[in-house]
């Protein structure tokens, strides 16, 4: 699974951080950071984060 977040769309709603806190986080400048290739144990949570993002900024590709 590969994750890309469009940071131009992201408006810090924080929903992905709640859904998958081990994959998504905010840094000290309030910018979203994330793991582009999360481990399989996190995939369900990442899918939940995609569904929870109000601005659909998270793109996931799964082989």
């Amino acid at each position: 699974m590969t994750v890309i977040v469009d940071l131009n769309l992201c408006q810090n709603h924080g929903q992905c951080v709640y859904a998958a806190p081990e994959v998504f986080a905010f840094d000290e400048e309030e910018t979203l950071t994330y793991q582009p290739e999360p481990p399989e144990s996190q995939h369900d949570r990442v899918r939940a984060a995609v569904a929870a993002c109000p601005v659909r900024a998270i793109l996931v590709s799964e082989p």
């Binding site: 929903q15 709640y18 309030e30 109000p54 659909r56």
Partner: protein, 408 residues
Amino acid sequence: MSPLRRVVVVGASLAGLRAAEALRRYGYAGELVLVGDEPHMPYDRPPLTKQFLNDGWRPEQIALPIPPGLDITWRLGVPASGLDVADRAVRLADGARLHYDGVVLATGARARPWPGHPVPAGVRTIRGLDDAAAVAEALSRTRRLLIVGAGFLGGEVAAAARALGVAVTLVEHQEFPLLAQTGPHVGRFVAALHRANGVDLHLGSRVQGFTSNGRGELTGAELTDGTQVEAGLAVLALGATPNIEWLAGSGLVTDRGLVCDEHCRPLRDDRLPAPDAVAAGDLTRWPHPLAGNELISPGHWSNTVEQATAAARALLKPDTAPAYRPVPSFWSDLYGVRIRSVGLPHLADASEVVDHDPAAHRLIVAYHRNGPLVGALTANRTSQLVPYRAEIQRHLDSRRTRTRSVQD
């Protein structure tokens, strides 16, 4: 595998679509019918009071994506007119009768209208796409806008109008904007934001009556504080009222919303869950442990998404679906300031300002009820919400809540 052969989803907005998606994701392979009163395919509402008004967004930009393979039979442009729980059928306004094996009730809410008298032309509400298109068009011809109600919707319309250079008078009957929802600290912060952006804010005031010209067009309003406001357009932002009238006579309990249990199941008059039925979105009220199991109806985007998924699961897997007990969240964007919240701040009996930086428009407020944390709100500090949310989640997890009737 599921024995259901036909599921009817009543409501084709965010809740209905997300419920349909979840039904397929959980393996439902039967017929799936989506009924919607509007002629439009599902669309997203939050941009209607933001980019749709001041950024020239078009309807196609707010269309909700329909995943491939959903295989939905659409019945758009026709409202549901009744529900027969015993016969398992939805009646539509065009006379059709749709039998179901399972039903998802997701008819949402509508804008609360002006109470009483008819209003002049130019007094509008915003709930749907057509409303927002009409307001966007009117804003392009108006130099002075009056907004009644400084809640989330009213505040966002004010910010959008100011971005367009329209003069705004914002009238709020409470002492501060959002006072009942978020308390005085946030109320003061938001009031200052409006004023810093040139809004003529009237707090503790109401519209006494609208004024109009000989053609019945709005010219302004008289406020209870004595102010005479001039305006060519007025937006009523008085809150929402649930679309439950069509359920009259169904035997389901309504009380300022459709009353559900913790498994998204609507209750019958005998206080037992109705068979083969679930509900999600702004029409529902259900017991939440954060509220001491009183009924809540958050009326926000995230709840609708999560509740629709929970409802679909409860319909397909009634024996194993967990209780729906989310940490709610909501947000609002005002003049570029990102207001974000978790939990249920409106329940609080105490709130404290943890941090406030007026120059950076940063704010952190924590909310408590009978001691424990029940909510938090930040402005431009979303990162700081994460530990608060975790604390509320732990608090929820630590309670072994029984499924209980709302009459307990």
